[in-house]
């Protein structure tokens, strides 16, 4: 097999595998938004506070997914 093609194949597989980590971020975002929506349903008066904290929590959960993305991007565009 062509060595260049092997490298591309390895990079693609590696980047794809790295992005599995994004699933955790997705689950975290889902849980936090679900909880926030429930809280907003119970306490409509505190919607603003809950929303702010929810966005922050989502951003932190998203960070984990972004680390996976960074690893994947490094595999794709930095490794040669």
């Amino acid at each position: 097999m062509d060595p260049q093609a092997t490298i591309v194949l390895g990079k693609a597989i590696g980047a794809g595998l790295a992005m599995i980590g994004a699933a955790g971020g997705g689950i975290g975002i889902g849980i936090s938004v679900g909880g926030a929506v429930m809280a907003m349903g119970r306490n409509p008066d505190h919607t603003a506070t809950i929303q702010t904290n929810m966005i922050l929590g989502v951003a932190f959960a998203e960070a984990v997914a972004i680390y996976a993305l960074v690893v994947s991007l490094i595999i794709l565009f930095v490794l040669s």
């Binding site: 702010t52 951003a59 998203e62 960074v70 565009f77 930095v78």
Partner: protein, 466 residues
């Protein structure tokens, strides 16, 4: 001014939309060459008095600094000098409302004795990162730039000389209004690669033909075998004798099947080249060696690859080109994110020492309870983990921002490439991502700085006393 624009802005937006569609149709979008490190501007663009090449992310950084300086001057000029004055309206008032909201926000998180320092750090990081992030929304950032021959010089140890070699890139065109642009439909193919691909196609054709002939021969042998068996116990002797008699004719049929397979492979290669030519490409479309009129690619190979070709000249066609954007969002460069992350972590340690003195170090090296409490060893381990955690913060800070913004930039131009006429929803998404990432970066700094000012061990001591 305001009354003039009332009700007319929608037409401006419509006009811009139509202009976007027009440009997308006239100049096909290009997937840019993606690399994580900021692209160096062409040789000669150095930071004054140094030999550091300016990167396009650094250009964006300079723009951000200048904008922030202007912003500072503007606010300093417009702000009221004391609380009794009525604040002026317009942009200043918007900023003041934001500022007051964030003051309340940070006051709720870190409203202690160190509020001023924490809040100033928060605002500075927030404004710098926000402005950097939002630069990705400006048309032309990341897309307009130098058309850059993607070649590099490489030292060849065998011949002891520098050789220009080419890498991936696109073909260059003089297009709309004489502007040079790279054609995203046509990746540049070097003559050597093309010849290699032709040779590979020929080889594949030979293989296919041989395989076809082999299959044919095996089929014939099988048929003969069947026929021989049939002579003993079958009444198809005449057919078998026919086979024997037409053995030469069968050999002819064998070679014709092989020729068909051979031609099929070569025709596929020729069709591939034709498709490229139909897209308007000029590399990788030369006549293949098996076609009539092929004159070899020796003359093309003989000419040296130019290092700095003029984009409008003929020799520009002999190298691949990429767009080197003049400005690329500063937050997609690790230099910026890492520096601000370092500043953030260093300021966290500084404010910890400022608030707690050298007692701050017990947060990391907590041997106080090692021999007093049965769980003292855990405290030591936790302290060491915090130390590691502070170093991890640097990476986490820098890569969170870098990843979000770099992925956002890639998303924007991939979407501009796939849906050239309507990439707006992704711009709106990027708007929010930029704001949230800036807020998260600044807010985490504020939270960590506030945490550093709080002495946990003091509380623990209290618990021990009780």
């Amino acid at each position: 001014m305001n009354s003039f624009w009332n009700g007319k802005r929608r037409y401006v937006a419509l006009l811009l939309f139509l202009a976007g569609v027009f440009v997308a149709l006239v100049v096909p979008p290009v997937i840019p060459f993606i690399q994580l490190a900021g692209e160096n501007l062409p040789a000669g663009y150095n930071i004054p008095f140094t030999d550091i090449r300016i990167t396009n992310t650094f250009v964006a950084a300079v723009i951000v600094w200048v904008l922030l300086l202007l912003f500072t001057a503007y606010i300093a000029r417009r702000r009221p000098s004391d609380g009794s004055e009525v604040p002026p309206g317009g942009f200043y008032n918007m900023f003041e409302a934001l500022y007051e909201g964030l003051m309340g926000f940070i006051g709720g998180i870190a409203g202690g004795a160190h509020f001023r320092l924490i809040f100033n750090m928060f605002m500075t990081i927030f404004l710098i990162v926000l402005l950097s992030n939002w630069m990705s929304l400006i048309p032309g950032v990341d897309t307009v730039g130098f058309i850059h021959p993607h070649v590099k010089e490489k030292f060849d140890p065998e011949t002891q000389e520098y050789k220009v070699i080419t890498t991936d890139g696109f073909e260059i065109y003089q297009g709309f209004l004489g502007i040079s642009y790279v054609n995203g439909q046509c990746d540049w193919v070097s003559p050597a690669d093309e010849a290699a691909a032709d040779a590979a196609a020929l080889a594949a054709a030979e293989t296919e033909a041989a395989a076809a002939q082999q299959t044919q021969l095996e089929d014939a042998a099988y048929a003969r075998y069947q026929a021989e068996h049939g002579e003993h116990g079958d009444d198809h002797a005449d057919e078998a004798s026919d086979d024997h008699g037409d053995s030469h004719a069968e050999g002819m049929a064998d070679s014709s099947a092989a020729t068909a397979a051979y031609d099929e492979v070569l025709a596929a290669r020729v069709a591939e080249k034709q498709a490229r030519a139909d897209r308007g490409c000029y590399t990788g479309v030369a006549l293949a060696p098996w076609q009539d009129g092929y004159n070899g690619d020796k003359d093309a190979k003989k000419e040296p690859i130019p290092l700095h070709p003029d984009p409008s000249s003929e020799e520009a066609k002999r190298v691949p080109w990429v767009v080197l954007p003049w400005v690329r969002v500063a937050s997609t460069d690790l230099n910026m994110t890492l520096t601000i992350a370092l500043i953030s972590v260093v300021m966290t340690q500084y404010i910890g020492f400022k608030a707690l003195g050298f007692g701050y170090l017990t947060k990391f090296f907590n041997f106080a309870t090692l021999f007093k409490s049965p769980l003292g060893g855990i405290d030591v381990a936790v302290g060491l983990l915090e130390l590691i955690g502070d170093f991890a913060k640097i990476l986490s800070f820098s890569f969170r921002l870098l990843g979000a913004m770099f992925a956002g930039a890639i998303l924007l131009f991939v979407m501009s490439f796939l849906v050239p006429i309507l990439p707006w929803p992704f711009f709106i998404l990027e708007f929010f991502v930029g704001a949230i990432q800036a807020l998260v970066f600044a807010l985490l700094t504020a939270i960590f700085m506030n945490l550093a000012t709080i002495s946990h061990h003091h509380d623990d001591d209290h618990d021990d006393e009780h």
